[in-house]
Subunit: 216 residues, 2 copies
Amino acid sequence: MDIITIERKVLEKNDEIALQIRNKLKINKTFAVNIVSSPGSGKTSILERTIESLKSKIQFAVIEGDVQTNFDAERVKKYNVPVVQIVTNGGCHLDAKLVKDALDKIKLKGIKFLVIENVGNLVCPAGYDLGEDHKVVVLSTTEGDDKPLKYPKMFINSSVLIVNKIDLLPYVNCNIKELKENALKINPNLIIFETSCTTGDGIEEWCNWVMMNIIE
Amino acid sequence: MDIITIERKVLEKNDEIALQIRNKLKINKTFAVNIVSSPGSGKTSILERTIESLKSKIQFAVIEGDVQTNFDAERVKKYNVPVVQIVTNGGCHLDAKLVKDALDKIKLKGIKFLVIENVGNLVCPAGYDLGEDHKVVVLSTTEGDDKPLKYPKMFINSSVLIVNKIDLLPYVNCNIKELKENALKINPNLIIFETSCTTGDGIEEWCNWVMMNIIE
């Protein structure tokens, strides 16, 4: 019995499927992000704000990952965006196979931007390639400025950090300067946006970055 | 290759060690809780407040679990409480073996209250018995009122729910009545406390519950 070997085999298989997804998206000229964070950092709210801002410019598709419930898919559906809900039934992360199956249910033609919203978990999803172009990690100011140091793998494997809930900064014990310094210590290449889904601050900058990455 | 069988064996082995821990703590008359939550919900802050309130009445010991860093142990150390830091190096939960090894480093005699602070993760630690008397799940108001429904296993396996950061209720989109109803829908036996580590609200009620459980 060799658990480590099996784990490696699972990851190898995952990476193989992720590569198939990446190729499929590339051929279709679909830009894809995998949004990751703790529960309640605001992944779905950011997604809603992004759809509101960009839906007149580009076609979206969304894959929602949740341990239970389809609440997030219901929130997205009202924007008339194709959305597939994956319920992991206790599983702590999405893997490429789940995403591949979900993708088979979406008519990809014309879709310019695919958002995969992962299960709320700052640890496990870090290790799984889903065929996305970039991982985008969301951290809310309420979680504290030390989290990049305490959960480094997610910050190493992400290209973008969205610091969300900046409207709450006056009320919480979080030094945003230190938060960003800590994040850049872990990954100096991180692109950082500061957002509030309540006030709308920073959403434009984030959406500009998305638009820069859309493949014509 | 049968991953499910191996997973079951891993859990069986875990439960066996958890039972040893439980027996050891019982013989020593040590009451033990396993505090679980998402990153940044306030586990360490609640622990600090609890030590401040109760250290003149009972002797504590603390086991800190983190993916990386010993920041939490450093925070606890200043109260002159015996503390052992477990760094999981990417591992997403504590298991009984890690706790057993940590416990071997603590002089248990006279310790009335052992707090195990788990890795910040609302998913994976739910499945692992650490030999504690109770799991205590912390959920901050900033995470939203739907989380008990979205991450049910943790709420099913916990005896206590601490709703933390209630001072932020005026600023966040969280209906605390609904949060509690959702939690009780998942687990009708949950004992619920509402706390703020900023104002100190609710800490006394939580500490009274701890004291009720101390074994003379």
